[in-house]
């Protein structure tokens, strides 16, 4: 895990260097054109090189830094996993199982990202929120999405 400001900056520089390089590389296949008549790849290639250059600057500056320790913060990865998981679950299932059950799913899964386990509270929250969303979004705002499984 990253423990110094220097390490963080090195990682940050590497990330944008890699992204810039990827954009610059994939621009090649899009037709670069000339400065007068720019092809689809011209501007992305330019920006990609610029981004990669900025990444290099960050890396070089990090290299010259003393290794001061980073302020300790809780890592966000476990909540991130549950939250992102609940969203992907919603996306994958909403058209199949409908709004009501997928809201219940999101509430149940994302609450795993919070420290408190209170099953009854989660159950009540899920049911109330599902009902509210069904009323508001489907009956009220008329969004076109299935409410129950197999409606589509």
């Amino acid at each position: 895990m990253i423990q110094t400001v220097r390490g963080r900056e090195l990682a940050a520089g590497a990330l944008i260097l890699a992204m810039g390089a990827a954009f610059a590389w994939f621009s090649g296949g899009l037709g670069l054109g000339t400065a007068t008549r720019m092809g689809s790849g011209y501007v992305p290639r330019l920006l990609g090189i610029l981004l990669a250059g900025l990444g290099l600057i960050v890396i070089v500056r990090a290299w010259l830094m003393p290794a001061t320790p980073l302020e300790k913060t809780n890592p966000p990865w476990i909540p991130l996993l549950w939250i992102a998981g609940s969203i992907v679950g919603f996306a994958a299932l909403v058209e199949r199982i409908g709004l009501f059950l997928s809201v219940v799913l999101v509430v149940a899964v994302c609450r795993a990202g919070a420290p408190e386990r209170r099953w009854i509270e989660i159950l009540i929250l899920a049911a109330a929120l599902s009902g509210f969303c069904a009323l508001l979004f489907i009956k009220g705002l008329g969004l076109t999405m299935p409410l129950w499984p197999g409606e589509r």
Binding site: F26, P44, I57, V88, V103, M145
Partner: protein
């Protein structure tokens, strides 16, 4: 003057129709409702509530969005005063003296002064927009592609100025945003760029998934990791809402000065509202007879920055409405919303969609009025909301984000994209990047490329076209001057101090 009254007449005729009044009211209430929640700034609030406006006509939708924006700002101030948690950079200043007032049992006074200061600033701001937008639109007719390109360079440079932390990393965020904006079909020749065969990407990366992922989802995750549960935080009692005569006397001058600061600085690209509230606080502290009161509950320290903040928020609409250039991330969101409703922001909006343009301006004033007469009496309700534990709150926010993103195009892929940008946002925050400049770059990417292409075509491939045209050269010179000034060590230090505070 006659033209001004006539134009405002058109505006109020639109804004005062019963439905549009209802939209403004709903917007204000929803905005406050979400904005008051700790850790949720105006940006996240607007991103989250955007889908609520999809079914409305463009005018109604923009009126409601403007209402949401004011409501969110007001809600942010409430949280800053009552629990010492700023929802955004601009309300950091409000916490300094606002929370101290609250601890002395004068929270109600602070809230009222903030609301009335904001209302006054809003009135002035509305008139400023109505006065300044038409000449700016006329001025914009002189702009060719080269000038537009240079103007956007200036705007993005200014956005970097106000980002936290490293300058290089802020520039990198802008460039990455520009690149993300180019994903999708090239409008000139139909070439698919960076879509990797994913059909849903051919219209470009959706605006809503990016905004909600970076500002909604990532925010929730960071809050959960921090384990800052607001229910542990003590909420100060509100007390009387009515300021004493004494309080008024001290606050009034601060409101006037703050409005002046905010009105002028808000027009500048890059989010002048933050700068304005800091500048106003510094000034009030300097000219006060007894500066030691500041930080211990000085009413000027709430009144001035709040007025400055709101005046700045108001006048930041000027470049957006007249030139189609967002001056900060919130305005970038508004441009995204306008595009979703089929309005291409730019100088032509005032002529072609006069009812939208003036209706929105008139509704800004109405929105400000509603904040005072509707929201202030409801302060007890907002306090209750503040005390809601985060473990109940975040699943609700998350569900709204999911449904909202899905409803834009009935697309599950966009929901997955939102999750992806949530993850990306967390990584960025962990690596010390600030995502707001990215959003600005994303909105400007296609516009900038288009104008660059046209300018180079007209200039026959000669890049000096940007410096031989006087207007374009001036804009680029300003951008360069701003950048150099920032890179100077003395100013850099000052900038860091401001953000550390």
């Amino acid at each position: 003057m006659d033209a001004l009254i006539q134009n405002l007449g058109i505006g109020f005729a639109v804004a005062l129709t019963p439905w549009n009044l209802v939209f403004a009211l709903i917007g204000c209430l929803l905005g406050t409702l979400i904005g008051v929640l700790p850790g949720i700034g105006p940006l996240a609030t607007i991103a989250m509530l955007l889908p609520f406006t999809f079914k409305l006509d463009p005018t109604g939708a923009l009126i409601m969005l403007a209402g949401i924006y004011y409501g969110a700002q007001y809600g942010g101030s409430t949280t800053a005063i009552l629990v010492n948690l700023p929802g955004e950079a601009a309300s950091v200043v409000t916490t300094l003296d606002g929370y101290q007032m609250a601890r002395q049992g004068k929270a109600g006074t602070a809230l009222t002064v903030a609301a009335i200061g904001s209302f006054f600033a809003g009135c002035v701001g509305t008139v400023a927009i109505a006065l300044l937008a038409p000449p700016l639109v006329a001025f914009a007719q002189l702009f060719g592609p080269a000038e537009y390109f240079s103007l956007m360079v200036l705007g993005l440079t200014a956005a970097v100025v106000l980002a936290h932390g490293s300058l290089v990393k802020a520039v990198a965020m802008v460039v990455l945003g520009l690149l993300l904006g180019l994903i999708g079909t090239d409008v000139n020749n139909g070439v698919q760029r960076f879509t990797f065969g994913i059909h849903e990407l051919s219209d470009g990366l959706g605006f809503v998934p990016i905004a909600m992922g970076l500002f909604g989802v990532a925010e929730i995750v960071m809050n959960l990791a921090r384990r800052t549960d607001t229910s542990d935080k003590e909420t100060a009692p509100v007390g009387s809402l009515f300021p004493s005569r004494e309080d008024w006397k001290t606050a009034w001058g601060a409101i006037l000065r703050g409005t002046g600061f905010g009105g002028v600085l808000g027009v500048l690209p890059g989010g002048g509202a933050v700068l304005a509230s800091f500048a106003s606080y510094t000034l009030e502290k300097k000219i006060a007879k007894d500066p030691s009161r500041f930080g211990k509950g000085a009413i000027e320290g709430v009144a001035g920055p709040e007025a400055a903040n709101n005046a700045g928020a108001q006048t930041s609409f000027i470049p957006m409405l007249s030139l189609g250039i967002p001056s900060n991330a919130v305005m970038a969101l508004m441009i995204g919303a306008m595009t979703i409703h089929g309005i291409q922001p730019g100088p032509q909006v005032m002529g072609e969609r006069a009812e939208v343009f003036w209706g929105m301006i008139a509704s800004m004033w109405i929105g400000n009025l509603m904040l005072v007469i509707v929201n202030l009496p409801l302060v007890g309700v907002w306090v209750k909301l503040l005390q809601m534990p985060y473990r109940l709150l975040f699943p609700i926010i998350l569900v709204f984000c999911c449904i909202g993103t899905y409803s834009v195009n009935n697309s599950a892929v966009e929901v997955v994209l939102m999750a992806g940008f949530g993850v990306f946002g967390v990584v960025l925050l962990r690596l010390g990047f600030e995502p707001a400049p990215l959003l600005l770059g994303y909105v400007l990417g296609p516009l900038m490329e288009e104008n660059l292409r046209r300018a180079m075509l007209i200039g026959r491939g000669d890049p000096t076209v940007f410096v031989t045209r006087p207007l374009s050269a001036t804009l680029l010179f300003l951008a360069a001057a701003l950048f150099v000034a920032l890179a100077l060590p003395a100013l850099r230090k000052k900038r860091e101090e401001v953000f550390v505070e």
